[in-house]
């Protein structure tokens, strides 16, 4: 089966985040884009797909379409799903080289995400990024 995602475009996320002044509004937006993600079917929500290092459960299923890495990611927490939408906007359907070249820390800085996430959540987000970059690295070497 095809695992589709439905994350907004990165530019839309950037401009919407820039538009909101309060973090309550930003969280409401994160929750909204998280809820809009296509849920991962139950069959994929298994321990083998769990991303280690996340405090909430995060399942990640990679697939390759030609040389592009497609990602299906889901979580049991709404705000984490919102963070997943940002990660997908940055990484989904990109080549391993594009993924490795993309400066996601600069994006997190621009959105001021790390300053507003708890340290454990920030570490979980980095664990997710690390897993994706690891997959990209394996395929970039081939």
């Amino acid at each position: 089966m095809t695992l589709a995602t439905s994350a907004p475009a990165l530019d839309d996320i950037r401009s919407t985040f820039g538009f909101f002044d309060s973090w309550q509004d930003k969280y409401a937006f994160l929750i909204d884009i998280g809820k809009a993600l296509t849920p991962l079917p139950e069959a994929y929500r298994i321990d083998d797909n769990l991303v280690r290092g996340c405090q909430s459960q995060v399942w990640l299923v990679p697939r390759f379409d030609g040389d592009h890495l497609g990602l299906a990611i889901d979580s049991d927490a709404h705000i984490v799903r919102g963070l997943i939408a940002i990660v997908l906007a940055a990484y989904d359907e990109r080549s391993p080289r594009e993924i490795l070249d993309f400066d996601i820390e600069a994006l997190f800085d621009e959105l001021d995400l790390m300053g507003h996430l708890s340290p454990t959540r920030g570490n979980g987000l980095r664990a997710m990024v690390g897993r994706i970059r690891g997959i990209a690295q394996e395929h970039a070497d081939h």
Binding site: W23, Q24, Y27, A28, I31, Q55, S56, Q57, D76, A77, H78, I79, V80, H116, L117, S118, R121
Partner: protein
């Protein structure tokens, strides 16, 4: 019998003789003292019978090639340079709590617990986890279909500090079939206005989620 009293010492008067425990341990930071230091009470005859667990300065009485003897209690168990500033600060916290009317503290916290439980029970879709009649001043709860970390994040944004997650009791959470809970804890410095702020913040979080 070893009692972990970390959660109790700031809320109840503790009498280790009445409890008749062999050991009673608690940490400084749960009783308004510093982090990284705690107290272990032990029955004297057991402590006398126990060998030192670590060697270093101050814990020896006489060292000879043939035989070494150890210092009396409690020095036998306090090798090396102690956490002096931590101990002084912890003693200040103990004196502070000792200077309060323990029964009044317990009554204050019990009434906050009752008010918070009633107040949170009126939030639609909220379920309190753990309702033992004699429990300490804590309310663990869940909002239907919402991960406790999400609730915690939104409460944090509204200036309400709670603990979220498995509370170091993963097997219990597994047995209850839940990922964790949101836990509000009340203490002698909280007021009914804090409970109102908590309830309102939970309602706001619920509307956002």
């Amino acid at each position: 019998m070893v009692v972990d009293g970390a959660q109790a010492v700031a809320h109840f008067d503790i009498d280790v003789q009445a409890l008749d425990c062999d050991f009673y341990a608690f940490s400084g930071h749960k009783m308004y003292g510093p982090t990284g230091i705690g107290v272990l009470y032990g029955r004297e005859k057991l402590l006398e019978a126990m060998p030192p667990w670590q060697s270093g300065g101050e814990m020896i009485e006489r060292v000879r090639i043939e035989q070494t003897t150890y210092a009396p209690l409690p020095f036998k168990f306090e090798a090396g340079t102690p956490d002096i500033s931590g101990a002084v600060a912890l003693a200040a916290a103990v004196d502070y709590l000792d200077g309060l009317d323990g029964e009044a503290v317990t009554n204050h916290e019990t009434s906050l617990l009752a008010y918070a439980s009633a107040s949170l029970n009126r939030v639609e879709g909220l379920r309190i986890v753990g309702t033992a009649p004699a429990k300490g001043p804590v309310v663990s709860f869940l909002l239907d279909g919402v991960h406790p970390h999400d609730v915690g994040t939104l409460l944090d944004q509204q200036g309400v500090a709670v603990r979220t997650g498995h509370h170091c009791a993963m097997p219990l959470m597994d047995a209850l079939g839940i990922p964790g809970t949101v836990r509000a804890s009340f203490s002698l410095y909280n007021s009914p206005a804090d409970v109102d702020k908590l309830s309102q913040a939970v309602r706001t979080a619920r509307s956002m989620l």
